[in-house]
């Protein structure tokens, strides 16, 4: 299983890590491909040496955004969807109330349609 020993990260730390365009591109690539090795990632960044990619991956791992799983001689990197979701806590809270209200409106409409008497 992937390593889950990354330290707890505050939302601010997470944002700081994501502020770097190369790291965002790495996340885009991982989202596209599922898992990638450092070498495969490096192929997408001709201007960067692999050690540079590794440094970015370390930052992403430290923030808990990606996981690394050993496979043979390679580490396979993947997005940590759970950590991503945790960062969305405040966003989710905002929509909880919104959807509760919307569904109640839908129920009222379906049960007791206005004007045209269906039901």
């Amino acid at each position: 299983m992937a390593d889950r020993d990354a330290p707890t990260t505050t939302t601010d730390d997470l944002f700081r890590v994501l502020a770097d365009p190369t790291r965002r591109r790495i996340l885009d690539l991982l989202a596209d491909h599922g898992t990638l090795t450092v070498g495969e990632l490096a192929g997408h960044f001709p201007g960067l040496v692999s050690s540079g990619i590794s440094k970015h991956l370390m930052a992403l791992r430290a923030a808990g955004l990606v996981t690394a799983t050993k496979q043979g001689r390679n580490q396979l990197y993947a997005i940590d969807a759970d950590a991503m979701s945790q960062a969305l806590g405040p966003w989710l809270a905002r929509y909880e109330a919104y959807w509760t209200g919307a569904l109640a409106r839908l129920r009222d409409l379906a049960v007791d349609p206005p004007h045209d008497g269906t039901a």
């Binding site: 601010d12 944002f15 700081r16 994501l18 502020a19 770097d20 365009p21 965002r24 996340l27 885009d28 991982l30 989202a31 596209d32 599922g34 993947a78 997005i79 969807a81 759970d82 991503m84 979701s85 945790q86 960062a87 969305l88 966003w91 989710l92 905002r94 929509y95 909880e96 919104y98 959807w99 509760t100 919307a102 569904l103 109640a104 409106r105 839908l106 129920r107 409409l109 379906a110 049960v111 349609p113 206005p114 269906t118 039901a119």
Partner: protein, 143 residues
């Protein structure tokens, strides 16, 4: 679960529920009074967010009559973009209809169906590039 998940039983048949999901006018009655939506597969939509300043846009990813409506969900100008999905399901039960609602954000990354969502965003506009604008705002937050 990291998503917003809701479910509600409605004492009316699925056909009575679906009519409020199958037209723009129907959606305006409960989802958002100002939604503009092209209700067919791949059709686009836009509506004001709940806070009065944000706009939500996306495309219709799935449309199954009396079954399910799936929209890609993009929050514009919210500081950062949440590429997500809104999944509404309708199923018949003994007492009428069960409506399920799942609204996810980054939770979708790497999971089944995510690529489709991403493609929908990329079709939407280059300014909607996944994670790019996320971080622009994020930079502001962190500064």
């Amino acid at each position: 679960m990291p998503e917003v998940v809701r479910s509600m039983e409605i004492p009316a048949p699925p056909s009575s529920v679906w009519r409020w999901l199958s037209t723009q006018d129907g959606l305006r009655r409960w989802l958002s009074p100002d939604i503009e939506i092209d209700l067919r597969l791949g059709g686009s939509y836009r509506m004001p967010g709940g806070d009065g300043t944000t706009w939500i846009s996306g495309t219709v990813l799935e449309l199954v009559p009396e079954g399910r409506l799936v929209l890609s969900w993009l929050e514009e100008d919210a500081g950062w973009v949440h590429p997500g999905r809104l999944v509404i399901t309708v199923e018949p039960i003994a007492s009428g209809t069960r409506v399920g609602l799942v609204h996810d954000g980054f939770a979708g990354i790497g999971k089944a169906g995510w690529e489709q969502t991403m493609q929908a965003y990329e079709r939407g506009a280059d300014k909607h590039q996944v994670l790019r604008r996320l971080a622009d705002a994020v930079t502001t937050v962190a500064a």
